[in-house]
């Protein structure tokens, strides 16, 4: 098992799995000492990222593979600063990075909010294409208060 790894699962691209993942994210982030607001942020980001994979990368197909792994990490050059990293891997077509910017919020219209929620909820949002897969890396650092609780 990778150092710091807390959870590693494969799930189908079925929206009925979203509530299962949300429950897991809530329990994990609570156990790591995140505040209630931060727990909601991480849960929302992972849920929205999975939703994007299901809708856009897999086009609504229900049985494609998604890999989810969660790790406890430390910020580089600051060993005392702990964080929570989530990696999501899908095997859909290569994504145009221009489409990962999200839409502007000055217009009132339905849709296009998922990426905005992800970026606002996490400290790091990185996307890359590797070995035929789309890899999304999300990181949330634990505030001092949470580290003290742990």
């Amino acid at each position: 098992m990778t150092q710091g790894q807390l959870l590693r699962v494969e799930l189908p691209s079925d929206p009925s799995m979203l509530c299962v993942v949300r429950a897991a994210m809530e329990r994990l982030t609570e156990a790591l000492g995140f505040t209630e607001s931060e727990v909601r942020s991480v849960t929302r980001a992972v849920d929205e990222a999975l939703t994007n994979i299901m809708r856009h990368s897999y086009g609504g197909a229900l049985n494609r593979r998604i890999e989810l792994s969660c790790l406890r990490i430390h910020r580089k050059r600051a060993k005392s600063e702990e964080g929570f990293e989530i990696r999501l891997v899908d095997y859909g077509p290569k994504i145009d990075p221009a489409k990962l910017r999200g839409r502007k919020l000055d217009e009132i219209k339905p849709g296009g909010l998922g990426l905005h929620f992800i970026r606002q909820s996490m400290d790091i949002v990185e996307f890359r294409r590797a070995r035929g897969a789309n890899v999304l890396r999300l990181v949330k650092y634990l505030a001092q208060e949470g580290r003290d609780r742990n």
Partner: protein, 116 residues
């Protein structure tokens, strides 16, 4: 895959108002159900006031928010009202993050919404 009923929508008619009592999380799995219920009431039945009671909605994702925005636009198109009641912290946060909280009529209680 799981096949469970994670969302329930009950409907109450109170004079010219319809109240939707929604229980569960609103996400990609069931937001089309919410959209269909709201748009049916607003566009087809043209109910003057539609109240979305979200007291028992713990979580709503971007697809759920999109359904609410579409319903709000439909209600404005026909000159009627869509009111939201009892937003959870998570629901309030996503509406704030999307800068949409101010465009909805939001009430803490159903009584306040009905009296408005």
């Amino acid at each position: 895959m799981l096949g469970g009923k994670s969302l329930q929508i009950a409907t109450r008619a109170l004079g010219t108002t319809t109240v939707f009592d929604v229980t569960g999380d609103i996400d990609l799995a069931n937001s089309p159900e919410v959209r269909k219920a709201l748009l049916g009431e607003i566009r087809e039945k043209k109910t003057p006031k539609v109240v979305m009671n979200m007291t028992k909605v713990r979580y709503i994702d971007s697809s759920g928010v999109a359904s609410l925005v579409e319903a709000l636009k439909a209600s404005r198109d026909v000159g009627n009202r869509l009111l939201l009641v009892g937003l959870s912290p998570a629901a309030r946060e996503v509406l704030q993050l999307s800068r949409l909280l101010k465009i909805f009529e939001v009430f803490d209680t159903e009584e306040a919404a009905l009296a408005s």
